[in-house]
Symmetry: C2
Amino acid sequence: MQLFDEDNLSPVRRRTLERLTHAALKLYQENKFPSPEEITREAEYAKVTLRSYFSTHSEFVEYVVKRVIGAFEKPKMTADPEENIARLLSWGYGELFSHEALMRDAMRIAQHRWQTRQEEGSHEGESFLKKSNRREALAEALAPLESQLPPEKVQKLIMLMSVLYGTEALTVLKDTFGMEQEEIVELTTWGAKLMLHQALQEET
Amino acid sequence: MQLFDEDNLSPVRRRTLERLTHAALKLYQENKFPSPEEITREAEYAKVTLRSYFSTHSEFVEYVVKRVIGAFEKPKMTADPEENIARLLSWGYGELFSHEALMRDAMRIAQHRWQTRQEEGSHEGESFLKKSNRREALAEALAPLESQLPPEKVQKLIMLMSVLYGTEALTVLKDTFGMEQEEIVELTTWGAKLMLHQALQEET
């Protein structure tokens, strides 16, 4: 649980949280998956400090991801869905690569949370379902398709593009095929276009 | 490191390894990510036993994955790439879902290994690049395309299908969109067909 209200944080508590966040980001930039101890040490606080903000380490990592994603300047969307997807993939993989360790750690932690939810017997998965920036960005990118395709097909394309666009795809293409950022952008853009073209063609 | 030779294992050591493997699988079937301690306890061995077979826990988990995948009976491939992909996705997601916790833990551990490689400064990623059953299965499924598409396009399609087919895609579609196994098979099969059709069409 996040143990504070973002909008009602004393200046001192806010500064402390900023320093913890920056310490974590600095360690992630060194391609580490920092432990709570490493983060507080880097920020020069006592070990317990983090625990007064977040009840678990996963929540802190999620908070850092949210902060990083919140600071992203998303590309402008146009009336052309194909152009939108190309912009989103090129920009998005750039951001993912520049925060690769953080994104991989978040993916790792998401699995751990899945496991914890199994133990708790909660199956609704609500905490996951609400935090998808990727889904929202893709829905906006594909919105112009709504005049050309039935809504359920647009939705299916959003889901397929979600698989092509993200840390999961990055790890498959980089770790299994040794691909670099540029190649991943080119490949996934090509795949997205194939799907868009064919879906539109099947409709007419 | 794997500290034994699979083909030259004494009957006693082999039996012990079998019991450890089965204990791990039993715990994974209960949707746990078992620790080395939990596995040895389940198998009724001393804590040190595992360490005489594998120098790290990740390697044991990889061994278990390899054993599970090795026992899979892959579907027969035909001369029709579209049919092959449909068979592979339907069968493969069935296997992934029936070993969901193991596959998620393996994905989690793969991230941890990425991080360790960064620390060691080794960038070749060799340990990942060699262990892709998925790539081989997809190459076989798409082999009939070789008479219709240039080899680099077949290769690109294999890579795109690798993103649609695996634990990574499973977690995106299940955790972000709340999809079930059948829906995931249907969606990814549709997406794969869109790409195949359009790639072939662009060629003619």
